[in-house]
Structure formats: C-alpha cells, structure tokens
C-alpha cells in the first residue's frame, strides 16, 4: 500500500460519516495526502522504515471465511470486529462505557499529535471506547477490550480510559489477528489517572507475519496516582509501540514493562518515554525480548527528568535473549537529566541461553529441548509477573505460553 492506495481506502471509508467527525477525518486525510510519511521523526524511527513496511502490504479486502472463533473468557469483555463494535459481556457497574463515534465532540481535543502515523489514525478514526471508572471504587475483575481483525484493510481504533480519584482498575487491550490477512492496525490509547488512582494497562498483541501494527499509548498521571503499562507482543511483520508516560504531579508513579517475542522475519520496535515533569515522582521499567529466526528487535527507552524535578527515582532494565544466529537486537536506553537530586539507573544485557543452565537441567534428567523451553519461558514470564491483578496475569501468562509453544524453535512448553 502506498500513500495513494491508503488515501483512497480512507476516502472510501468516509462515505457514511458526517458532522464534526467527517471534518476531522477529512482534514487529517488531506494533511496525510500532502505530507505522506514525511511527518515522522527520523531519529525515533531510525531502525523502522514505516513507509517501506506499508509498501509491502497488499490490499485485498476479503472477508474472513470461517466463523469467528471463540475468544470468550470469563473476563468482562468488549469486542470490536475489524474496528467496529461487536458486543460486550459481563460488564461491571463501576465502569461506564461510551462509544467514541457518538461522543466524538467530547474527546476530540485529545488528538493533538501531528506525525504521519497519527494523521493516518485520525484519517481512519473508527469506533472505540471511552471508559470511565467511578470515584472511590476498587474494580476487582479486569476489563478486556478485544479487537479481532479479519480483513486485509486498515483499522484505527481509539481507546480513552479515564480513571477517577482513589480507584483501582486493571484493563487489558487485546488485539488478535485471524488467518493470514495483510492489514494495518493503527491504534491510539489515551489514559488519564486522576489523583490517587491506580491503573494497570495491559496491551497484548497476537499477530500473524503479514500485518503492520502501530500503537500509541499516552498516559497522564496526576498526584499520588500510579500507572503501570505492560506490553506483551507476539509480533507481526512490523510492530511498533510508542508509550509515553507523563508524571505530572508529586507522588505520581509510572511503570512500563514490555515483553516481545519475534520470529521469522518479524520486526518489533518498542519505544518508551517516561517524562518526570514534576518533583517527587518515581518510575520503573523492564523490557525483555526473545528473538528467533531472522527477526529484529529494537528497544528505545527514554527517561526524561525535567528541570526542577528534584527527588526523582527512576530505574530501567532491558534484557534480550537471542535464540538464533541471525536475529538482531538494537537497544538504546536514553537518560536525559536536567535536575541534580535524582537517582537514575539503567542496564541492558543481550545474550543467549546459558549452556551451563541447560546442562544443569540435563543433569536433573530434563531433556535439552525442554530445558531451553523452561529457561526461555522463565525469562519471559518475569515481565508477566509484574501484572498485579491475578486474573489478568493468568490470562496473559496463557497467551505467552501458547505463543512460545507454537512459534519458537525451542520445542514444547507444557
């Protein structure tokens, strides 16, 4: 898909839209037509040439033949099929849900970024949810927003999550691709954590090898609130995650944890940014990659401490496991520090499974393949362990186990 084809598809999709949403989409489409992929930070996309990945996408608007398989789990779920609302079940009373399409005017001020990908997202802007969690409530069960993709086209969902004061919630944003469709999924998520709230946001992606997945998560964290992002991604042809956590008031705490599994010729680029905009804020980061085949993984983690943001503590760790000779990894931790009373650290390691560790398993009667499985799983699950909500954790753990099972050359994980 080149710029012309993308624009043509977007144009076609405008047919049934009207009102301010139409103006908004048209405006961004015009900008995209004008600038194409020029409006993109060359630094930040140094290892990911977005335009060439889009060119590899073929456009074939076919429907997925077989029935949509059952992704039902007991977790309360809102389902979107190819970007359009499909159904919901087991929702809880503390959470109010509105649709972006019908409440567009309330949220349109959020869309302020102006790079090529957000233009593309805005030009295709589809439905999504505005989730608001009531004050002073503790929602024990997680909420799952499930996106199922079955068509070779462009989908652009939006999720807006507003968590009011003194509330605790765990939200899973899950994207599943069915069949071998070649599609582009451009998602944007906006999160507002009000004073004293605790949010856990889990973004999980299970892709095929043909899709492009670009998602942007922006979180604003207020006083004494904490936001934890967990990204688990079993990559597609190209998968890029932009996470930005803004710690805006004293006592705010941000966490970003990511695990990516790549195989074949997949490409996964995780870009995180934690902005300590105020004093007395803390953050913690862990990013891990398991790479096989000829895949390529990129981790860029920026910690930005603004002037006068004193008494800040921040730590970051990045670990990568290379399972094959031709896998590649680029790791770029970045610290930008403009205040002096800070404690900041980052670390990065890259290596393969240790022969000694495998040998230890073998001496205990566990065959090599199984030993490698267990070690890789243990390596990856450290990220999943960061999820606090038990139900969410169990759900993600199963996905990771299945994925390692089917995709990787390390054998069977039981």
């Amino acid at each position: 898909m080149n710029i012309e084809i993308l624009s043509a598809i977007a144009e076609k999709k405008l047919e049934h839209i009207n009102g301010s949403l139409l103006d908004f989409r048209k405006n961004h489409l015009d900008q995209f037509k004008l600038n194409g992929f020029q409006e993109i930070s060359k630094d930040s996309y140094k290892f990911t040439n977005i335009e060439s990945f889009f060119k590899e996408l073929s456009y074939a608007p076919e429907n997925f033949d077989s029935e949509v398989p059952d992704f039902k789990s007991t977790i309360p779920t809102i389902t979107f099929l190819d970007g359009e609302f499909f159904g919901s079940e087991n929702l809880q009373p503390e959470i109010s849900i509105k649709m972006v399409k019908s409440h567009f005017n309330e949220v349109k001020d959020l869309f302020t970024t102006t790079n090529a990908l957000s233009r593309l997202h805005h030009a295709f802007l589809q439905d999504g949810t505005i989730i608001e969690v009531a004050r002073n409530s503790s929602v024990l069960r997680p909420l799952r927003i499930l996106h199922i993709l079955t068509k070779s086209t462009v989908s652009a969902p939006t999720n807006i999550i507003i968590v009011n004061s003194n509330t605790k919630v765990s939200i899973i944003e899950e994207t599943r691709v069915l069949g071998a469709t070649s599609h582009a999924h451009i998602a944007e998520t906006y999160i507002k954590a009000h004073q004293g709230s605790k949010i856990e946001h889990i973004s999980v992606l299970v892709e095929n090898e043909k899709g492009i997945n670009h998602s942007t998560i922006t979180a604003q964290v207020k006083q004494d609130a904490s936001f934890r992002s967990v990204i688990v991604s079993a990559s597609g042809m190209m998968n890029r995650k932009n996470l930005s956590i803004n710690l805006n008031a004293p006592g705010a705490h941000g966490e970003s944890h990511a695990l990516f599994l790549t195989n074949g010729s997949e490409h996964c680029d995780i870009n995180t940014e934690i902005n300590h905009r105020c004093e007395d804020t803390t953050s913690e980061q862990m990013a891990k990659g398991i790479l096989d085949g000829e895949s390529k993984g990129i981790f860029t983690g920026k910690i930005h401490i603004f002037p006068r943001s004193q008494r800040v503590a921040s730590s970051q760790i990045n670990k990568n496991l290379l399972l094959s000779k031709r896998a590649q990894v680029h790791s770029q931790p970045q610290l930008e520090i403009f205040a002096d009373d800070v404690k900041c650290s980052h670390g990065s390691t890259t290596g393969q499974l240790s022969d000694d560790e495998v040998f230890y398993f073998e001496t205990r009667g566990i065959p090599m393949e199984r030993a490698r499985n267990l070690l890789a799983l243990g390596f990856g699950l450290e990220v999943v362990q960061k999820i606090e909500n038990q139900e969410s954790r169990k759900h993600i753990q199963d996905i990771v186990k299945n994925k390692l099972n089917e995709k990787f050359s390390i054998g069977d994980i039981k």
């Binding site: 770029q332 610290l335 520090i337 800070v342 980052h346 990065s348 390691t349 393969q352």
Partner: protein, 477 residues
C-alpha cells in the same frame, strides 16, 4: 552547603606567548592546501590525498545530530597554518628553538631541555602548526622505535606513512575528518617495530597559541607484531574571548599480539564563567586491532574545551583482540561535552570494556554517547559498559545515549548506567571527620573517578586528580 568562590580564575595555562608567527592568509582554498603541502616539502601523493579530502569536504554539510549547541563556524575566518618564526622550516635540534618557545613549554611543565629530560618520558611538543622538538630520539632509535613529527615521518619514512595514513580514519569518515585530512599540519608519528617493548613512555604536548588559528594535528601510531607502547597526550591553550577550533585525527594500528595504551589529559581553555571563548575540540580518534590478540586502550580525562565532541573508538578485527575505553569528562560553567566511544566487534572472541564517568556542574551539559556493535562474524564477543553521571548543582544536565546493536547470538553484551548527586550525608560524614566541604567534594569526586584514574600512568594520574580538584574549586555550591 555553600562554598565561597575562592578563586576567580583557575586556568593557570591561560597565558599568551609573545612570539612572532608566520601565518598563511585566513581562509581555506585549494591554494592554501597547496601552500601547506609545499611548505612541508610533501610528496605528490600526499598533496593528492589532501586535495581529494578537500573536494570531498566541500560536498559535506555540518552534522546536526550532536547534543551540543555549536555556533556557526566560519571556516573562511581561520588561519589554517601558523608557526613560530624562525629561519628554518623545521628544527633539527633544540638549540635552534627560540628561547621564548622553550620558556613556554618550561612554564607548562614540559621537559624539553637537557636537564629535565631525565624524567624518562620522550616528548614531542607541538606549538600551533609545527612540532617544536622531540626528546630522547636517540635512545629510542637504538631499539628501532621511530618517534617524530608526522612531517618528518613523511620525509624519512614515506613508505610507512603511505601504508597506514587514512586507513583507520578515511577522509570520507566525517565532516571534520575530511577537513583535517585536507589541512593537517603537524602531529606525532610512532612506529614500534616487531617484538619491541618501547623502553620509554611517549608523549605529545599540544599548545595552541596564535590568535584566530585552528589546530589540525594528525597522529599515527603503529605497533607492529608483539610490540607495546604507552602514549600520553596533553593539551593547553591561552585564554581568549574568541573560540578556536581544534580538529585532530588520531589513528592507531595494532598488529598481532601488539598493544597500545593511549592516554589523554585534555585541558584546553574552556571559556570564562559566562561561557565566552574556549576551544572547540572536535577530534576523530580511532584504533584498529588488526592482529590476533592485539589490544588498544583509550583513557581520557576531559576537563577543558568549551565544546568537547569526540568518540575514541576501537575496531576489533583480529581474533581475541581487545579494546577498552576509560573516560572522565568534567564540565562546568557553560561547557558542553558530547563524548563516548564506539566498539565495533568484527573478529571472533573479541572483548571490549567501557567505563565512562561524567561530572557536570553549574550550567554545563554532559552527554555520554556510545555504540557497541557486534557484527554477525563476531562469535563469542563480549562487552561490558558502565557509564555513570554525577550532577553538581541543579542547572546542569547529564544525558546518556548508549546504542547497542547485536547481530550474533553468542555475544554477551552488558550495559549499566547510573546518575546521582553527591549526597548531603556523604559531605556531612566527611566534614565530621575534619575535612572541609571543598576537600570532601574533591574526595568523593576522585573516588567516583577512581576506576578511570587507576588506568593512567602514575604521573598522569596525579595530574588528573589535581586537575579535577582545581576545576571544581569554585564550582561546587
């Protein structure tokens, strides 16, 4: 805690030597390059090399990716060649050198004259664009070590220079490498023959004196099979309100089982409290470990320059070769530093170590930027990097931009970094033991830098400690 400003100015090398100089007209053109080449009696091939570099330079634009603000440099407003006036073009022995010049080096503490040569370090002293003198030449010649200025080497050992010049840093490498390749004037040349452990430490001392001139020196060190050399470099410049450019190239080559240790204590004038004046230090330093089991080690103490922008690097080609980089970069006032290293692993079982310590004080900016690249051929490669920053005062900045590219799964790459400040508790503890707060800060900073200082030769290490102390004297608040 507040420490009084005791000293108004602590750059003791800021004096100017009143000496008549011979300069070529300002500006850069093919003509100037021909003049430089002619002045130095250079062979045709070298002039061709310079002209090629110049033509390439004309096609380049100034890079913009660096994390420092560089005011626009007018390359036509610089003297590209400046030398103290004498009857001769080159000094054949120290008796011909003007007494002012010798006094200058005396003042700087550089032992050029007989009585001080006993110190056991051979020195090549470079003043603006020319080498003033090289000591201990005879002793070195006995064991076959060639240590002279690069101009002399071009004359006496053209085959060696031709074989190695520009092979580690080609003129097309970057903007300032192209500029240097076109106009380089003097620098040191070292050749250590097979199996020789250089009996003396070698050292070059660079001094910029002339106004509005740029220094473009070129250093080339070759360690043949099984040889070893320890090389030291020092630099100072007078205190002036204008900025001056220093764009050097240093190339190191080690063959099988050879080792080069290269240490720098850089103390160019850094500008005054308001950030006026100072040297722009834009240097390309790179070493190639070509042979099996060869080693290159860079140690740098960067305490001067208005802007420091350099990445001493190692290309590890030979099997089992090792590269290391130890750095202390201290910035205060309005100084800016964007420094670090590149370790390119090509050969099997290559190892590299990076230890970088950045200290920023007052309104300065300190950046560590590093690249560790493991090529697919580098089976069993190993890297360990550590970069720590210390902040003194709340208006400075410390940034860390490491980049790690791994293309071989048998490689083990580790990186860690921390940023912190000197805590009030630490100062208080030392004060309760009778140290002044100034001494306490100096102790803590020296402790922070210990890992790097211990890799320096003893005399240099002492000097480095003093330099850091002196620099911090009135910047700790």
């Amino acid at each position: 805690m507040k420490i009084d400003d005791k000293l108004q100015d602590n750059y003791k090398y800021g004096f100017i030597t009143e000496i008549e100089t011979e300069e070529f007209p300002k500006g850069l053109s093919e003509n100037i390059i021909r003049l430089i080449s002619e002045k130095k009696n250079e062979p045709e091939w070298l002039l061709d090399y310079r002209l090629k570099a110049y033509k390439h330079w004309l096609t380049l634009t100034h890079p913009e990716w660096q994390y420092c603000k560089i005011p626009k440099i007018d390359f036509q407003d610089i003297y590209y060649y400046s030398k103290p006036k004498t009857k001769k073009n080159a000094y054949s022995n120290l008796d011909e050198v003007d007494s002012e010049l010798l006094e200058t080096f005396e003042k700087l503490g550089i032992p050029l004259t007989e009585q001080k040569r006993l110190m056991g370090v051979a020195v090549d002293a470079v003043f603006d664009s020319v080498s003033v003198g090289t000591t201990h030449k005879e002793d070195l010649e006995k064991v076959g070590v060639i240590f002279c200025s690069i101009s002399e080497a071009v004359e006496k050992h053209p085959e060696l220079v031709k074989k190695y010049l520009g092979t580690v840093v080609p003129y097309s490498d970057n903007f300032y490498a192209a500029l240097n390749s076109a106009v380089f004037s003097d620098g040191s040349f070292v050749y250590i023959p097979k199996g020789v452990k250089c009996p003396l430490d070698l050292s070059t001392y660079f001094r910029i004196n002339a106004k509005e001139s740029g220094q473009f020196e070129r250093t080339l060190i070759i360690a043949d099979e099984g040889s070893y050399v320890n090389y030291l470099e020092g630099c100072t410049a007078p205190q002036r309100d204008e900025n001056q450019l220093h764009a050097a190239i240093v190339e190191l080559v080690t063959l099988d089982d050879a080792e080069i240790k290269y240490s720098t204590v850089q103390n160019w004038y850094a500008g005054d409290k308001e950030g006026k004046g100072g040297i722009y230090n834009f240097v390309t330093k790179r070493g190639q470990c070509r042979g099996k089991n060869s080693k290159i080690s860079w140690t740098q103490v960067e305490a001067g320059s208005a802007i420091t922008w350099k990445y001493p690097s190692c290309v590890l080609l030979g099997e089992n070769s090792q590269g290391s980089f130890y750095s202390v970069a201290l910035t205060n006032h309005y100084m800016q530093a964007d420094t670090g290293t590149k370790m390119i692993h090509v050969g099997k079982n290559t190892k590299s170590t990076i230890v970088s310590k950045g200290i920023s004080a007052e309104k300065s900016q300190n950046v560590y930027r590093g690249l560790v690249k493991i090529m697919p051929s580098a089976t069993g490669a190993r890297n360990y990097s550590q970069c720590d920053s210390m902040l003194i005062g709340d208006q400075c900045a410390a940034n860390t931009f490491p980049s790690i590219d791994v293309k071989n799964n048998t490689a083990i790459v580790e990186h860690e970094a921390t940023t912190s400040k000197i805590s009030a508790d630490q100062i208080f503890y030392l004060q309760s033991r009778g140290f002044t707060s100034e001494k306490a800060v100096s102790l803590i900073v020296n402790g922070f830098c210990k890992d790097v200082f211990k890799t320096l030769p003893l005399e240099f290490s002492v000097e480095a400690v003093k330099l850091i102390e002196m620099k911090l004297e009135n910047s700790v608040g």
